[in-house]
């Protein structure tokens, strides 16, 4: 779109003056002003389709009702979005849609979340006048990996068809037949098989395309949503996490039920890939929720209150004996910018630690659109902070390491248990920060349960160098805490540059400090 940005004109919606961007449509202008105009086929990702006829409005000077979704605003345009004529037309369209619609709401996954239901609630609530036999159609067509199509519920908005044409360009769905027999379907012998298929269930405005991953598992009104960033690759797609509040509860075996895309035109538009959408079990499964003390001298009982003191004491001892070369770090790039920055400051800048390794998931394959080959969210951030991202060298680790601070569960995937054990056995003291209960944990003296990105605050730097902040969408389980908290306490404890650490109450404050030291992180004025 070549819309001239920022040139504003004045239009009137229901007599109220409204500012509108030149070149925009009536529907977008109304939405910007907080006036909702019902629509089914219009989706902001695509050019207007004009087929559902739900968005009809009255415009002064036009004899017919016009489409809000496709009509471009003009200066001084006078629009009625809820006049009697408009309401009558909307009711008419709804009546037509519902005439051939099944009464499935009680067993429909979309209920509570369905545009057709909402609009009927708003404009309809009329008795059905339709006395004829409804068309029979396919109610359970498997159209892809985990998608089920119910043709009876379909309102033929063609959002799904257009998504597969314009976004994935795979064109797996089409409209077949004509008139009232028109129906969406896959082509013979084909299926919706691409890494973005899950978006279909999300953009379908009704319950025609449902996702087997979610189907019949819960009702949408039981769920709450929190904003986050997908950590499963380095794109940093903006997401919504839908979860059951009140977890844990007997009847509810898990917290997270669904990931949805959150609009961000600069990163992921309106979409997330299937890896990000369906790969959410890591949020609930095998989570560590207690501090584990496998091996610890004396009577010490470790709690989050005394942990930094405990760690600080070990480090200080090595440091005053000029033996910081005996310290080793194993990091990963799921840590936030702020956490990596604190780690760099404490261990590299202040303590001059040499042995810093990174243990991440192995590289995957990029899909040419959003999914990157990088399987962690913040490699770019680690680089910008100044880390040289070196893989773990077990031999180096095994020679003269007195104290190891390791982060994350990924180490176990990189080496055989035997080699790992042998190497770690040579290390005198070792502490692991991990979110998971894992065999690996038994190799460490102490395991500290930490929050995941979805459960903490901070920022990530995506593959393109975009720094994106995030807030907790979920509560961290049990005793888990975010790493930045422990690290800033530790910094304070160590007493080097203590003024610096004394003013870091939040990741936000850390990011501001980062900006002063590393120009890359200076907040761009947007």
């Amino acid at each position: 779109m070549q819309e001239k940005a920022n040139e504003m004109i004045k239009i009137f919606i229901d007599k109220e003056p409204v500012e509108a961007e030149q070149g925009t449509t009536v529907l977008k202008a109304a939405e910007r002003a907080g006036i909702h105009i019902p629509h089914l086929c219009y989706h902001p990702a695509f050019p207007p389709e004009g087929s559902c006829r739900m968005c009809l409005v009255e415009i002064e000077g036009f004899p017919k009702l016009e489409l809000a979704c496709s009509t471009v605003v003009k200066d001084e345009m006078k629009i009625s979005a809820k006049s009697e004529r408009v309401v009558k037309a909307r009711k008419a369209v709804l009546e037509f849609l519902l005439a051939e619609h099944p009464l499935d709401c009680p067993i429909c996954d979309k209920a509570g979340d369905c545009k057709l239901q909402d609009y009927y609630d708003e404009y309809g609530l009329f008795e059905s006048q339709f006395k004829e036999a409804k068309e029979k159609r396919e109610k359970k067509l498997k159209i892809g990996k985990s998608l089920i199509l119910d043709q009876e519920r379909c309102v033929l908005c063609t959002r799904c068809v257009r998504f597969l044409k314009e976004v994935t360009t795979t064109q797996d769905l089409g409209v077949f037949h004509r008139g009232v027999h028109s129906s969406v379907n896959i082509y013979e012998g084909a299926a919706v098989e691409n890494n973005y298929s899950g978006n279909l269930a999300e953009i379908c405005p009704v319950g025609a395309i449902t996702d087997e991953d979610f189907r019949f598992k819960t009702r949408s009104w039981f769920l709450k949503e929190g904003e986050s960033i997908c950590p499963l690759c380095s794109r940093g797609c903006n997401i919504l996490i839908e979860y059951h509040p009140g977890f844990p509860r007997f009847e509810v075996p898990k917290r997270v039920y669904r990931i949805k895309a959150r609009e961000n035109p600069e990163v992921n538009d309106f979409w997330v890939c299937d890896r990000g959408r369906y790969g959410y079990s890591y949020l609930d499964e095998h989570r560590a929720d207690k501090i584990i003390m496998n091996k610890i001298e004396g009577e010490n009982v470790l709690t989050w209150e005394n942990i930094s003191e405990y760690l600080g004491e070990k480090i200080k001892r090595l440091s005053s004996a000029k033996k910081t070369s005996g310290i080793a770090l194993i990091l990963h790039t799921w840590l936030s910018n702020e956490e990596l920055f604190l780690l760099h400051k404490i261990f590299k800048d202040d303590l001059k630690v040499e042995k810093i390794f990174f243990a991440d998931l192995p590289q995957g394959e990029a899909d040419g659109y959003l999914l990157t080959s990088e399987t962690s969210p913040n490699r770019r951030g680690a680089q910008e902070i100044g880390f040289d991202i070196k893989p773990v060298d077990l031999d180096a680790l095994a020679s003269g390491t007195d104290f190891l601070l390791a982060f994350g569960p990924f180490l176990s995937g990189l080496f055989s248990p035997k080699d790992l054990k042998a190497a770690l056995n040579t290390v005198k003291r070792k502490v692991l920060f991990s979110s998971y209960t894992h065999e690996l944990n038994s190799l460490f003296d102490i395991v500290l349960p930490v929050a995941l990105i979805a459960e903490k605050e901070g920022s990530l730097t995506n593959v393109e160098g975009k720094v994106q902040g995030f807030q907790p969408a979920l509560e961290p389980p049990g005793e888990s805490l975010p790493e930045w908290k422990v690290l800033s306490d530790l910094g304070k404890e160590l007493g080097i540059d203590s003024k610096f650490y004394s003013e870091l109450p939040s990741p936000e404050a850390i990011l501001i400090e980062m900006g002063k030291k590393i120009p890359f992180f200076k907040k761009k004025n947007d």
């Binding site: 006829r53 496709s70 008419a92 009546e95 005439a99 004829e132 309102v155 004509r178």
Partner: protein, 412 residues
Amino acid sequence: MKEKVLTEHFGLENLYKIDVYKKQGGYQATEKALKKMKPEEILEEVKKANLRGRGGAGFPAGVKWSFVPDTDKPKYLCVNADEGEPGTFKDRYIMSHNPHMLLEGIIITSFCVGIHAAFIYIRGEYEAIALRLEQAISEAYENGFLGKNILESGFDLDIFVHRGAGAYICGEETALLESLEGKRGVPRLKPPFPASVGLWQCPTVINNVETISNISHIILNGAEWFVKQGLPKDGGTRIFGVSGMVKNPGIYELPLGTSLKDIIFKHAGGMKEGKKLKAVIPGGMSAPILTADEINIKMDFDSLVEANSMLGSAAIIVIDEKTSILDVLKVVTKFYSHESCGQCTPCRIGNSWINKIVKRIAEGKGKKEDIDSILRLASNIEGNTLCPLGDAAAMPILSITKKFRKELESHV
């Protein structure tokens, strides 16, 4: 003096062959246009002729051509030979009797607008006619009227014949474009209009066969002469296709403005078997019906609009007293329900719904409320659809139901 323009030589044997056609003065208009006229002069002449589209909407052809923007993109001409409107059978006569007259029109139109590729989108069932067109086109190539550097004028043009696959909606100009592009034939949202964004996103002129067939006559005889064949604001003749319960159904080329009564009772020989006239559909099935009392009317675009109907494709369907109006309504609603492309809600479901009600009434299971339901549903379709098919369905349904309500009520 009014005369036949398009059908003048239709009786002549082998008129479809280029030699015979040329003997009747064929291709003189092309020579004149390409050698002696500038494109702007042709456009001026066609505008002055007030040639209104013969496909249905009656939009002035010259004005339509003038909307084509001046761009570097290729431009296209699509001749609408889909002839799907029930009752309409005029274009097939033109194409089978005198294909070269159409080709001449295409050549001159293309020269005028700056088009180098033209498509004739022809109804799938017209297989033999498509073949005849292909033959005429190859004759025209052989005689130097098509191809490169036509008549040494430096102008190039190719014509392609494309057969449709049997959907009424593909006669709607934007659905036609989709179909021609190899896609499912469903109408596009307008604007943009085809004149600026048409075939393969390029500026495109779309005209009916009969519209284009008039062009050579306008060029040869001038706009002033053409206007005299019809009305000042509606130049030329129309080929009226008369069908139904008349003695002599067929095509009648008559000046625009001829009275409907005369067409039925003089030209078409009056009612068959001496039956009484009940109603007339004056412009193809999409046109609102006229009762027997309403036929004292001039057949031109504006007069019919005044009578709340339309001239459309000038197909006149004559209905006698013996014909049940419920049967008429059944045919109409079945047709539109079957031919709705299904893209937009009111047309897709509304037409099917109405059709289900009418079918039920015909089965003897009608209820009093059904008549009002039909009126309510049809008026909910009217004006609210994506393409004109919605109105084309609602208008006849509304007029039939309103004007013959009593008779319909006798069935419920």
